[in-house]
């Protein structure tokens, strides 16, 4: 589904990703872990199509297409979803109108008919229940005045509505208490299907107690330096990132 080869990216002349390789297939859950500054969030943003990066080298194929040539909105319509580490507050734009517009854009792209207001509300209520997000949030402006936990739940709610093929969740666990973490994890697990895939970007192992990954990758200095199964996360938790730094620097 996603094939990344030798991706090199810099920001304002500073190299951030230094030859990243990753293969993600349908039905898989990947976790990308790494210390601060290793390039995790840059990776997420590049996949979603933020434009302030210089792509120096490498290729990213998504469902056989060159992802790097696609606009952010086209990526979304083709099934990519980014769960933001810091969801943006947009005063004056109602959550309901925003998501209805987003869903209808996607449906138009897929050749499906537009949803009426009533049809949309029905779908929205179903998805709200799924992620345990109260209707009072969807009646408000996008993320405005939401608590940290509400913002993250709102990301999962949007993911549930848009039903992406590939979700990249950037530090979705950061700043969550254990109850909110469970809600978010349950949402992700519930949305898992044989034909979609998830990339979890996280600093801590904690989230992986609730969402069991098929693969764990360690990102350090802009490259994946170690890959393994779910047990790698436990090893990391135990030995800390210093261990990774040591073995990488030795090489």
């Amino acid at each position: 589904m996603l094939s990344i080869k030798n991706l090199k990216v810099s920001v304002e002349g500073k190299p951030i990703l230094n030859g990243l390789n990753l293969e993600v297939a349908e039905g898989e859950v990947h976790a990308i872990m790494g210390p601060n500054g290793s390039g995790k969030s840059t990776f997420a943003s590049v996949i979603a199509g933020r434009d302030y990066f210089d792509i120096k080298e490498g290729e990213v194929k998504y469902l056989g297409k060159n992802l790097l040539e696609m606009s952010p909105e086209m990526r979304s319509k083709e099934g990519i979803f980014l769960g933001f580490q810091y969801p943006v507050e947009i005063p004056g734009v109602s959550m309901t109108n925003f998501m209805r517009a987003a869903l209808n854009e996607k449906r138009e792209h897929l050749g499906l008919k537009q949803l009426s207001g009533a049809e949309f509300i029905k779908i929205m209520e179903e998805k709200q229940e799924l992620v345990n997000i109260q209707s009072k949030l969807t009646n408000r402006s996008v993320n405005e005045g939401f608590s940290g936990g509400e913002k993250k739940k709102n990301e999962i709610f949007q993911m549930a509505l848009l039903e992406p093929k590939l979700s990249v969740l950037d530090e979705t666990d950061s700043g969550l208490d254990i109850d909110a973490l469970k809600i978010v994890a349950n949402g992700v697990n519930y949305l898992k299907r044989k034909d979609n895939a998830t990339i979890l970007i996280t600093h801590y192992q904690r989230l992986l107690d609730y969402i069991i990954p098929d693969f764990v990758h360690v990102l350090y200095d802009g490259k994946i330096v170690k890959s393994g199964g779910k047990e790698l996360a436990l090893e990391l938790e135990e030995k800390g990132y210093e261990w990774i730094k040591e073995i990488t620097n030795k090489e």
């Binding site: 979603a48 199509g49 933020r50 606009s71 952010p72 909105e73 990526r75 979304s76 319509k77 979803f81 980014l82 933001f84 969801p87 943006v88 947009i90 005063p91 004056g92 734009v93 925003f98 998501m99 517009a101 987003a102 854009e105 996607k106 792209h109 402006s141 996008v142 949007q158 848009l162």
Partner: protein
Amino acid sequence: MADNNNTYNSENFKNNLIKLYESNRKYFSSDSSEKTQKLRDKAFKSFKEYGFPNKKDESWRFSKLDQLFRDDYEFDFEPKLKKFDVNKIFTCDVYDLDTYCVTLINGWFAYKNSPLSVLKDGTIIGSLSKALEIYPEIVEKSIGSTAKIDQPGFVSLNTTFMQDGLFIYVPDNIEVEKPVQIISIVDSKNPIFIQPRNLIIVGKNSKLSLIHCDHSLSHNISFTNTVSEIILNENSYIDHYKVQNKGRNSSLITSIFFKQKSDSKIINNAITLNGGFTKNQIDLQIEGENCSSNLNGLYIMDKNQHVDNQVLVKHNKSNSYSNQLYKGIVNDQASAVFSGKVYVEKDSQNTKAFQNNKNILLTDEATINTQPFLEIYADDVKCSHGATVGQLDSEAMFYLRSRGLCEQTSKQLLMYAFTNEIINEISIEPLKNNIASLVEKRLKGELSICDQCILNCDSSEPKFIQNILD
């Protein structure tokens, strides 16, 4: 004429106007009482002395006037038509908005039945000139009591030439049932200069909603110099809307003078969607305690349009609140000016006064000059001012696009959201909905100048009132 415009300046125009006044005195003296004639003489003297503002004048620094001065403006010292049914040329497009609707045509009060009506509750609505004839004691007491004529500018000019306009008198203890809507229409084949004068008096414990729409029926050249005096007695309330959707060849200078007595409340919304040259001046004098005022403004400018909002709030007494919030979106080569001033007198303790101007510039050629001022002479006050000029938030743009909304839609959504803060303050629900949809259309580029507006007049073919009556 074209050559003329290059050399024709404010001095020529001033001299022309002085001659014009002197040679047409008979029209003005017949429209005056002894007291108003005195006011007129004083204004004329002041205009002769100060003339028009020049570039050195701080409040006019960013609005170039010379291009507006012409020697071929027509002046109507008598109304071309007196009786007129506004419904003949258009119907108001604000659904479900039940108003008491009156019309000014080229500055003259136009009416179907009577120039002056007295509603069941005693409220008087009609022509200022007729009001001066029938209720001289009410008019004389208030006219000129707030408008400043002792300085350069258009107020002394208006006061010199004033003949007619809207008059509203709300007696004490009356809540006027329906909003009053005044539609000010300019319609002329030739360039025209008009000077409406409005006087609104709200009695003690009374309440009035007033919607003032400025409109041109054609793309022809016009210059409108309006002065409104709005007097709020103790514990009264006014909800005032100023909506402009004018042609690109129209220039509009509106000076509104508010006087607030104790416990009174003002909500003022100045919404400028289109216009060649627009200047909205507000001068608010707080003369009592426990007053509150919210002065809001929204402007959306493109092409070569220019809008200048100038606000002065003067706290002359203690314990009052004022808040200015002006927001604008400026596109293409358009320009906007905001100059807001809060002045707190020495003994006006416990004043709360706030001021904010937020702008979005969509191109490199668009300009905004914003000048927030605070001048405070009392020591126990809570005041703040601020101004921002920026582009659309790129984080928010990306967030919307990452959910599948295209760049254009995301931009429109953010611009619309930006305007919401002002639109949400509109308390007359049908008007709010209509303005919201106008703004939305305007942002989508569906509403070009004079294309469609609150009045829903079809401007594809210029309609001259005279033609319709013929």
